[in-house]
Structure formats: C-alpha cells, structure tokens
C-alpha cells in the first residue's frame, strides 16, 4: 500500500501539485487520470522519488520515504518496477538482456539463474520468439510487454505505469491493461497507473483518482465513475459521444 499525504510540488514558483492525499491499495490497479498538464506524471514521478516534493509525506507500507537513509531508499527502489510511456528499453541490449538488466545490476545471481527467471517472466507476459531481438526489431505492443517483464522481474511490491497503452492500437491496449491487472492480482502488487485512456478507466479502474490543475478533484472506482455528479470528471470522461452512450446504457441497465 502507498499512502500520499498532503503532497505539494512546485517548479519555479508554479504549483503543480496542491495538497494531494490518497491511498493506493495493494493488489489493485490504482489509476491516476486527468487532462494533459493536470500533474499526473509529476505525481507519479514524485511518488517514485524522481522529484523531490516540497511538502507532505509519501509512505510505502509504514515507511515514509522522506525520512529514510539512502541505503534504505536503495533497498526500497529495488521493490519498485516502472513501465515508462515510451517503454524506455535500452536500445543496445536484446530483449533478454533488457529483462535481465535489473538482476545483473542489483543481485549476485548466476547467469543461469538470471536467464531462468527472465524466461519465467517472458513466458508470463506472452513474449514469443523475441529473446534475442533488439527493441527496435519488435512492435510497440511487444516493447510494452518487455517493459512490463523488466518491471516485474525483481518481484516488485510496487508497480508504476506511465500511460502504458499510449501509441498502441485498441486491441493491444486492452491486452496490456488486462496483463497489468492480472499481474497485480496474481502477485498482490500495489500498481499505480497514469492514464488518460478511457477504456482503461472503465476496464481496470479498481481505484481512480482524478486530477485537475494539480488538485485531486475526485476519487472512486470504475463503477462509481458512471454515477458521479462531479462535473469535472463527467466533462473529462464523457467528452465523447461514445462514452456518453456507454454511461447511459450502464445507468439504464443498473437502475
């Protein structure tokens, strides 16, 4: 579980995150949604410790990351996995080397042990015949699978995904969303996903927080999002006619 308490972050005097408090639950896919520039990525990277926050607290379990030693912070980082928007795979390494990379850097496992673990996660994310290929030789969807495999290879307690299905076709997006949700439930990971994909919101949004102008505007789940009276959330999610129809049908069927 990750608890965020009264988090503030500014850049050059401009407040980007204002008093954000929320809890990301274990074994659930927690979504951060909002328009571009609403502060989603800054919130995610602040939680990850890639940005120093101005005020507030972030707890991983019972441990506040503001008050821990560098050594403990390094250990904590090894419990985190991250899937970046553009996958962030290392271009000069093969798929297998990319996946083995965290183990090579952070553990004393033998090559055979690393290869065996790598094969396990490759199988788990359904990557077929890609071990020896370079990231540039595989499709965007496969790159995302590699990024997920690399993120989970160290058995993380916390998984962060920054717009995991951006640039993917709808079918692949759904596959990636389902894969993340399955892995989250299977390994009881606390997963935080930053997205503005409405399919993801409705399919895997077990916990959703909506950000607007750096503030938390709404919190709920993919059932409550249909019923919310919040205008900002409604305006964002139901901005397209398709989703307006989806909402109408859902409300009619569940009346």
């Amino acid at each position: 579980m990750i608890v965020v308490e009264n988090l503030y972050k500014s850049f050059d005097g401009v407040n980007v995150l204002n008093d954000i408090s929320t809890t990301f639950e274990k074994g659930k896919t927690n979504l951060i949604i909002g328009q571009s520039g609403s502060g989603k990525t800054i919130l995610l990277k602040s939680i990850l410790g890639l940005f120093n926050i101005d005020k507030g607290n972030i707890y991983f379990g019972n441990q506040s990351i503001q008050n821990i030693s560098n050594k403990k912070r390094s250990v904590l980082r090894q419990e985190m996995g991250m899937v970046f928007q553009g996958s962030a795979l290392f271009d000069s390494m093969t798929v297998e080397e990319n996946i083995m990379f965290p183990m090579r850097m952070l553990t004393k496992k033998s090559f055979e042990e690393m290869q065996s673990r790598s094969n396990e996660v490759i199988k788990r994310v359904n990557l077929i015949n890609a071990n020896k290929k370079l990231p540039s030789e595989i499709s965007g969807g496969m790159q995302k699978r590699v990024a997920i495999a690399r993120a989970i290879v160290m058995n993380p307690k916390y998984l962060f995904c920054d717009e995991p299905n951006s640039g993917l076709d709808p079918n692949t997006s759904t596959i990636i969303d389902n894969l993340i949700q399955e892995i989250t439930q299977e390994f009881q990971i606390t997963t935080v996903i930053n997205t503005h994909d409405m399919n993801s919101v409705m399919e895997i949004g077990e916990k959703i927080i909506f950000l607007q102008n750096g503030k938390k505007e709404w919190e709920g789940n993919n059932k409550e999002v249909f019923k919310t009276e919040n205008e900002a959330v409604g305006g964002f999610i139901y901005s397209s006619n398709l989703f307006k129809k989806v909402r109408e049908v859902y409300l009619r069927d569940n009346a």
């Binding site: 990277k45 990850l48 890639l50 912070r73 390094s74 250990v75 980082r77 090894q78 985190m80 996995g81 991250m82 970046f84 928007q85 553009g86 962030a88 795979l89 290392f90 271009d91 990379f101 965290p102 090579r104 850097m105 952070l106 962060f160």
Partner: protein
C-alpha cells in the same frame, strides 16, 4: 549568472560520478565498450588528419625557408615541434570534441529523452557512475591516440618533404633529432590527459542534463562541442604558461 549555475552543476555531477559505484563486472564491460567507441573508433580519422596535416606543416615550413643560409633540416625540426607540442595534443583534441564529444552528448541526450536514464534511476542505480565513469576511464587511453597522431604527423611531414623535393631524408631525420627535449613529450601528454578528462565530462554534462526532445539533442551536441573546445583552448593556454615559461 546562468554560467555559475552550470559550473556548480558540473562539479556536483563529478562528485556523484565517483560515489556509489555499480558492480565492477558491469563497469568493466562498459569501459571496454567505451574504449572501442571513443578510442579505437577515432583512430582512423585521427590517422588520416595527422598524416596530411603533418605534410602541410612540412611544406609550409619549407616554403618559408627562403634564406639559402637556413639549413634544410629545419623542416624536420619545425614539423616535429609543431606536431608534438601543439598539433597532436590540441588540434586533435578539438577534432575529438566534435567526434567523441558529439557522440557522448547525443547518446546520453537520447537516453534522457527516451527516459532510459529515469529507468536506471528507478532501479536504484547511480546513473552518474554507470553512464559517465566508464567514459572517463576510457578516455584515459586517449594519449594512445595522440601517440598515433604524433607518429603519423611526422611521417606525413617526412613524405611531403622527400617526395615534394624540399629536403632529403637525412636532413629531415637530422631535423627531427635536433635539440630534442624529452620534457616536451611529458608536457604534451600532461595536456592530453587533462583534455581527455574535459572531453569525457563536458559532453556528458550536456547530454545528461538535456531537457526537451530530439531537436534539443542536436542543439546540445553543438553547445557541447563549443564549450569543450573553449575549455580545451583555455586549459591549453594555462598549461603552456605554467610548464613552458
């Protein structure tokens, strides 16, 4: 004031490069890769330029020896002095600022743009040490490139003098042996080592702290070349003032 910010950030970066080392087995592999990319990969262009510029130095010296009382062996002497003292260590370093510097800036800049540096940070890796330290170590082999440059510069001068009909072989060889001061080689290598550190770290700074996208990678490569060259020229002046006067 922005320049003070950059100087501060550069030295803070250097401090972080030498902290929290990543595994030696990983570093070793990266150092070998960087030696291949930065040193071995530069020998061809350095050899080509050195040979021909050495030849040009010899020809220009010969054409300026208009007084018949001046001995022909001065062509060899002037070629040796120019190549060893200035051309090989400084001129080649400026060329390397373009070749190696741009390579370092663009490769680190691309890693920044594609979030690969963030990915390393999330894993808890000291990215400064992982990305920059191997380049600094690899560049300590840079004097080897300068030896090649010195040798081929003088050889180029020799061939240009002989086949251009400016002097004979014995005169040229006498010239390159005349008043040889071994300290000049030491001075040239000391310069080279300092330049190699500048060549590894200044482009790394520009690549590592890049902000923006693909266009900024190109801009950063140009800025990195300009600043690396400026620092090499300033360091060259200071070292020469300190050691040769």
């Amino acid at each position: 004031m922005i320049i003070i910010h950059h100087i501060g950030a550069y030295f803070l970066m250097l401090q972080k490069v030498f902290r929290r080392f990543v595994k030696w087995s990983v570093l070793k592999e990266l150092i070998i890769k960087d030696i291949d990319a930065l040193i071995i990969g530069s020998i061809g262009i350095v050899a080509f330029i050195s040979f021909f510029v050495g030849g040009v130095v010899a020809i220009q010296t010969a054409l300026n020896l208009t007084n018949p009382f001046l001995p022909q062996y001065l062509i060899g002497f002037a070629t040796r002095q120019s190549v060893i003292l200035e051309f090989a260590p400084t001129f080649i370093s400026i060329i390397m600022a373009g070749k190696v510097g741009s390579f370092i800036t663009s490769s680190l800049g691309t890693m920044r743009v594609t979030e690969q540096i963030e990915a390393l940070k999330v894993m808890g890796i000291n990215t400064y040490n992982y990305l920059i330290f191997p380049k600094i170590v690899a560049m300590f082999f840079y004097p080897f490139v300068i030896v090649v440059s010195m040798f081929l510069g003088i050889i180029g001068g020799y061939f240009a003098s002989i086949y251009g009909g400016f002097c004979n072989s014995a005169d040229f060889i006498q010239g390159i042996q005349l008043d040889f001061i071994p300290f000049h080689i030491g001075y040239a290598f000391l310069k080279t080592i300092i330049f190699s550190f500048i060549l590894a770290t200044v482009p790394s700074y520009h690549g590592y702290f890049l902000k923006g996208g693909a266009l900024e990678v190109g801009k950063a490569s140009t800025t990195s070349f300009v600043w690396t060259s400026v620092l090499i020229i300033i360091a060259n002046y200071l070292i020469t003032q300190l050691l040769l006067t």
